[in-house]
């Protein structure tokens, strides 16, 4: 390779890098710790999704048994993955098994004992349901976050334990964002069977102490003030177990105003939902229909006539609440409840201060190193300084090109890259000095210097890369940024410290020098 080709390559790499990251303000992606925002880790309680499946199966079985005229002692959900059937009459045993396996065979295993059967969910199905729940939660959160209008959010699976990572750059209303992300938003419309009652005890008394199997007891919401239009938590209703309409039937939901000019949420149903809503309301004029969100009754209006595709949820909403409720309804229900495991909020002012500090520290470090190199190696120091600066330019260029995120520890990575750059250069220069002292002539000393340390440089870089690799695997956001910077810096360093530096030596030596300023 001629010297000319080498310099063309170097110039090419430099211009590509600069083109890639210029202007840095736009091209370099900053991490949350530098631009401010909130980092959240959520746990998806996938047991909820399994319980829903189990309950659904039990309801289906209950209906099948009624239709087939089969009687059992009791039918109960014992855990999120198990249900128990007791008191199957011996004469009906065969018929029961047949009916039950039609409803549950695909999902549940059966174990038996004298008229009692325990059904437990097949482990592979349970795992599949868990995974689906996480994926579905992820998509729902994504929709909600997008509706919040956050620029460049990150919503991703995190770790292996049904966790989800959410990063929202630049969000200031953290509490609201958190509430919107985690609200389950399970909408159900159910006919009121009995009620309202003014206490739980009164309700239980009315049905003789035990809630009938096909009903459940729900109360109003705690958030509703007594004076507002919503249903307070002190009111209890018996509603049917099976919802006529659920959130899945929604086409959209939006904030609106009710007759009293109070904020409310109006929703419209999709075609299938509208048909069923029509049937339901048409057949039950005069009865109360409870609008239930996350097991809380929001309102229980009386059905005045057949309604098909439109409905309205009233309550004592503020405008913001009406808006947020329509947002979460629109984006769909979460398949399982969520809890927060980790929350880190970085204010934009702290981020900006960190950038300033990081840049000052980098430039300060660079300046100190440059001064030292020029002082100690004289003209050859220029060589080292050039290769270090080029290293930083390539590092920036590659980061922009790969879309890698720059974090505060990542800036520390820049400083360590300067350190690595110095190391390789010093290694080479010291070796050249040694070779010079054995009086071989400048050219052969330089070439021997580079050749002899080549494997040392490879070994040291591989060792550092191994550490960086595990660091990447270990860390979250900021630490990953550090590992990324370090890795790219190490790779760029092999190019600049060996290829660029050598080309510069060769350029100097091509002018028929016999001594080296080193």
């Amino acid at each position: 390779m001629t010297l000319r080709t080498k310099f063309l390559i170097i110039a090419g790499v430099m211009s590509l890098s600069i083109w890639s990251f210029y202007p840095p303000g736009e091209k370099i992606k900053l991490g949350l710790d530098l631009k401010g925002g909130v980092h959240l880790v959520l746990q998806v309680h996938t047991d909820d999704a399994l319980r829903i499946e189990t309950e659904r199966t039990v309801e289906r079985l209950r209906e099948t048994l009624v239709e087939g005229g089969l009687e059992v002692g009791s039918l109960s959900v014992t855990s999120s993955t198990e249900f128990l059937v007791e008191g199957v009459q011996p004469a009906q045993d065969q018929a029961f098994r047949q009916a039950a396996s039609d409803d549950s065979e695909a999902v549940f295993n059966r174990s038996s004992g004298a008229g009692n059967y325990t059904y437990s969910m097949k482990p592979n199905i349970a795992n599949q349901l868990r995974e689906e729940a996480v994926t579905q939660a992820l998509q729902t959160i994504e929709r909600r976050v997008n509706e919040l209008g956050v620029a460049e959010p990150i919503v991703a699976k995190h770790g292996s334990d049904n966790q989800i990572l959410v990063q929202l750059p630049g969000v200031s209303e953290v509490a609201r964002a958190k509430e919107i992300i985690r609200s389950t938003a399970q909408l159900e419309l159910k006919l009121v069977e009995q009620g309202p009652f003014y206490s739980r005890d009164a309700a239980l008394q009315a049905v003789g102490g035990e809630i009938p199997g096909e009903m459940e007891l729900v109360s109003g919401s705690e958030d509703v003030s007594a004076t507002g239009g919503g249903v307070p938590s002190t009111l209890y209703y018996f509603v049917g177990r099976v919802a006529g309409i659920t959130g899945r039937d929604l086409r959209t939901a939006r904030p609106t105003l009710d007759e009293m000019n109070q904020p409310a949420v109006s929703f419209s149903l999709n075609q299938d939902g509208a048909r069923r809503f029509g049937q339901l309301t048409g057949a039950n004029v005069g009865r109360q229909l409870a609008i239930i969100i996350d097991d809380r009754v929001f309102s229980a209006p009386t059905v005045e006539g057949r309604i098909t595709d439109e409905g309205r949820i009233t309550g004592s909403f503020t405008q913001q609440e009406a808006q947020d409720l329509s947002l979460v309804l629109r984006s769909g229900a979460l398949p399982a409840s969520l809890t927060y495991l980790e929350e880190r909020t970085i204010g934009p002012s702290l981020g900006a201060a960190s950038i300033r500090a990081g840049v000052t520290a980098s430039l300060g470090g660079l300046l100190l190193v440059v001064l030292f190199l020029l002082f100690y190696y004289k003209l050859t120091g220029i060589n080292a300084v050039t290769s270090i600066v080029m290293n930083l330019i390539i590092l920036l260029g590659l980061m922009a090109y790969l879309g890698a995120t720059l974090t505060l520890p990542g800036i520390a990575g820049f400083i360590l890259t300067i350190g690595m750059g110095v190391d390789s250069n010093v290694l080479i220069f010291e070796r050249i000095k040694e070779e010079l002292s054995t009086a071989k002539g400048v050219k052969s000393a330089v070439s021997a210097g580079f050749d002899r340390v080549w494997w040392t440089i490879v070994d040291t870089h591989v060792a550092s890369l191994i550490a960086a690799m595990f660091l990447f695997q270990f860390g979250t956001g900021p630490i990953r940024g550090f590992a990324t910077t370090l890795t790219i810096g190490l790779l760029a360093n092999v190019f600049t410290a060996v290829f660029v530096s050598r080309a510069m030596f060769e350029l100097v030596l091509s002018r028929r020098r016999t001594a080296l300023s080193i």
Binding site: Y340, G365, I415, L416, V426, F470, F474
Partner: protein, 324 residues
């Protein structure tokens, strides 16, 4: 210009002294750690940290009084420069975080308490809340990552050099990690994600230094098979001494800049690196090579009890490993 003119210090002669000194430091450190426990930051222990910027000067005591009402062991300290008026308040992991409980309860309590205390206007500039699940998870991952990277590097050195060298390098790395932990504990720095990142970087850095010397040993073994291993190692340490000192010096300068100008968030990181660089340089010169020699000898004495000509045999053996 040269720092050392053909240096010829007898480092290897001091190997036992060095090992004793290092052991004392490390044992003292372990003693403190066992006694007081490793100071875990909230990344690993879980808990809440709120950093508040006040419009005007406030004292730590004022804040301490304000948050007195919150149960649990609180830490209140100045954050960053004095004239930034920033205060950090830390709460431990709350015991009764029942399922679904509000994770941000502690942070809310702090803000409320300070609001009610009649202090100057303030702004919460950062909140970090780590639940117990995440803390335990990060602890596990941190230990795993550190051990895995040490094992990875050991295997690489064993593959490129020879097993006894790998053990020497790894002894030096453990030495550096333990010494750094000792200093961190002693100077009251908490173990955070950043500090662990710095520790991992030090493993890379420390091994770096060691590899440079081992590379030279390998090269010298090729040329001088008649010399004893001690002699060759000592010569190699001397030959690379300028490089070791200059690199350590410049990296130290760069990291010192980070320590002084890089801001509060990176202070622990930079401190860890500073200690690690010094320890790494020392361990490269005194510990890594010494242990490599000691281990090489032990192997030799078990392999060949009659040991008169053995040093040259070791050298030959090394030469073979070398050329293969």
């Amino acid at each position: 210009m040269k720092i050392f003119n053909t240096p010829n210090y007898d480092f290897i002669r001091w190997r036992w002294h060095a090992i004793v000194i290092s052991s004392v430091v490390i044992l003292a450190g372990l003693g403190v750690i066992v006694q007081r426990g490793l100071p875990l930051g909230i990344d690993f222990s879980g808990g809440t940290i709120v950093v508040i910027k006040f419009a005007d000067e406030v004292s730590e005591d004022q804040i301490r009084n304000a948050v007195e009402v919150i149960p649990g062991e609180k830490v209140v300290q100045q954050y960053g420069d004095l004239d930034d008026h920033e205060i950090l308040v830390r709460l431990p992991q709350m015991e009764a975080t029942e399922e679904g409980a509000n994770l941000s309860q502690g942070a809310d309590q702090i803000v409320e308490a300070i609001q009610g205390a009649g202090l100057p206007d303030f702004e919460v500039i950062s909140t970090e809340i780590v639940g117990p699940v995440i803390g335990a998870d990060l602890q596990r991952k941190g230990i795993y990552a550190t051990l895995a990277s040490i094992i990875g590097i050991t295997l690489y050195i064993a593959f490129r050099f020879r097993p006894s060298f790998a053990l020497g390098a790894i002894a030096a790395t453990f030495h550096d990690i333990l010494v750094t932990l000792t200093f961190l504990t002693f100077f009251g720095y908490e173990l955070s994600l950043n500090v662990v990142a710095a520790l991992l970087t030090i493993t890379g850095y420390s091994v770096n230094d060691t590899i440079v010397i081992f590379d030279r040993v390998r090269e010298n073994l090729r040329g001088r098979r008649r010399d004893s291993l001690e002699h060759i190692v000592n010569t190699s340490v001397n030959q690379t001494l300028s490089r070791t000192v200059i690199t350590a010096g410049t990296t130290f300068l760069a990291v010192a800049s980070l320590f002084f100008f890089g801001g509060e968030v990176l202070r622990g990181f930079a401190f860890t690196m500073l200690v690690g660089i010094v320890s790494g340089t020392y361990s490269t010169i005194f510990i890594a090579a010494a242990i490599a020699i000691i281990l090489s000898k032990r192997r030799r004495s078990t392999a060949a009890p009659a040991s008169s000509a053995s040093s040259s045999r070791v050298a030959q053996k090394a030469g073979r490993v070398q050329t293969s």
